[in-house]
Symmetry: C2
Subunit: 276 residues, 2 copies
């Protein structure tokens, strides 16, 4: 069993647990974040997280803190953790009131260590039950793919259920395309092809999604990023969910409908476990 | 001249200027705000601001702090200010990592007093130059109208120009409808009718917009909330912008195009000045 960890936080490299009320992260959600799995002191797929953060900073016009500095601060919190979640937030920094970006501010870096989630371990082998959310995601190419701090749509989606037996809610966009779960990306096997929704109008391009697409190519499973409908999901040969902490959850039920169980999720789970 | 004010802040009723890094306002933009004009110790149209805040809380499922408490905290900061801007933020409160709303948290209240903006006073009589933004607003009925903390689209819009002679940028939604300025609502006079964009898919339903619509009705000017195109704006008999701090700015130029000057904005400016 993992011992509960005290929450430990660095702000701009120093131990602290409060930020200025004038930080634009609070005032406008003006920033980005990464949620990372720490196993035996190592941050899994750290490079992919830093790549996405850099992409997000570039999209929002935030100067990304130096990679070396982020690596150093993240490592200093995580190196003695057996199993934990590391969260990194980068905001545009402290500013005056108003949407115009201040010229003389430095981005704020917040690194914090959190307990591993208490999701049942058997969800990995046996799969999870999910539901359709009625909350829909708006289509905004400027913010699609990156992991920014404007997360109200996902919170509204996640607020639709409290049943602990339901692991995740599936979100469609305002045009009806299936995009993702509230905290996961979605994959489906259809006619021998591994499909995951395109994320050019909404959604977050997950690091595990990225890795799964690469692994599937290595396994010579045909992969495709394409628009996905709810009917595609419900009639798929296999459905699974990914994120950086859970890796892969097979889906065994959507609403009242039992889903076929396939083998691809299990093959990918094993490969992912070997990767660090 | 107004003396510069020291920024003064109350958090949950106590003088402080930092919040927990685990506040959901920072982590997800999970909250709402109001920006209010203080003149001679009085918060202008305070009731309308509190009404919109309550509506926003209800939409997001945040328990709105008691009105009396908010009035007391806001007044205590503003009562000795001659001319200042008062900002009120209400977040869902401190929570663990994850989108699911914590059950045992209390909303965070942040009240802060800011300097009056340094916009040229002559903009009120002579009008302002504005531009079209290329940033478009996504269509999300669940968040439309309320003043939530997810403001990245507006920041991207405001980042499109730095010329201090341009007072505001006009935003369209992803379908091409004109919605608002980055920090203002927009009104146009066309064939004797006062039109302002419908805000059921995006935008913030401004308190001054609300008041202007009511005043126009008193003046027996026909008013309509309707979809508005860029061409409607460019060919209008008169265009003006509103927000709680500026009241009304007539628009005299959009991009390179001079705009007709009308009289409605000036009539409404005078009426608004009399209201407190």
């Amino acid at each position: 069993m993992t011992q509960p960890l005290p929450i430990t936080t660095l702000i701009n490299g120093r131990p602290a647990d409060t930020i200025s009320v004038h930080d634009r992260g609070l005032n406008y959600g003006d920033g980005l974040f990464e949620t990372m799995a720490v196993v035996n002191g190592t941050i899994r797929r750290f490079d992919l997280h830093l790549d996405r953060l850099a992409l997000g900073c570039s999209r929002l016009g935030i100067e990304c803190p130096p990679r070396e500095l982020l690596m150093q601060e993240c490592s200093s919190l995580s190196r003695s953790a057996t199993r934990a979640v590391l969260k990194l937030i980068v905001t545009r920094g402290i500013g005056n009131r108003g949407y115009a970006s201040p010229r003389d501010t430095r981005p704020t870096r917040i690194v914090s260590l959190h307990d591993w989630p208490k999701d049942p371990e058997h969800w990995h082998p046996t799969g999870v039950a999910v539901r359709w959310c009625t909350t829909t995601l708006s289509r905004q190419p400027l913010l699609a793919g990156i992991k920014h701090l404007n997360r109200l749509e996902y919170i509204l989606g996640r607020s639709e259920w409290t049943d602990p037996e339901i692991a995740e809610g599936l979100l469609r966009d305002t045009d009806g395309n299936v995009i993702c779960g509230t905290m996961t990306n979605i994959f489906l096997m259809r006619s021998g092809e591994l499909t995951t929704p395109t994320l050019d109008h909404c959604g977050v391009a997950g690091t595990t999604r990225h890795t799964v697409l690469a692994l599937a190519k290595e396994l010579e499973i045909p992969t495709i990023e394409a628009p996905v409908t709810a009917s595609d999901v419900e009639t798929a040969d296999e459905v699974f969910l990914t994120n950086a902490v859970i890796d892969i959850w097979p889906v065994n039920r959507i609403g009242n409908r039992a889903l076929a169980r396939g083998q691809i999720a299990h093959r990918l789970q094993k490969l992912l476990m070997r990767l660090r």
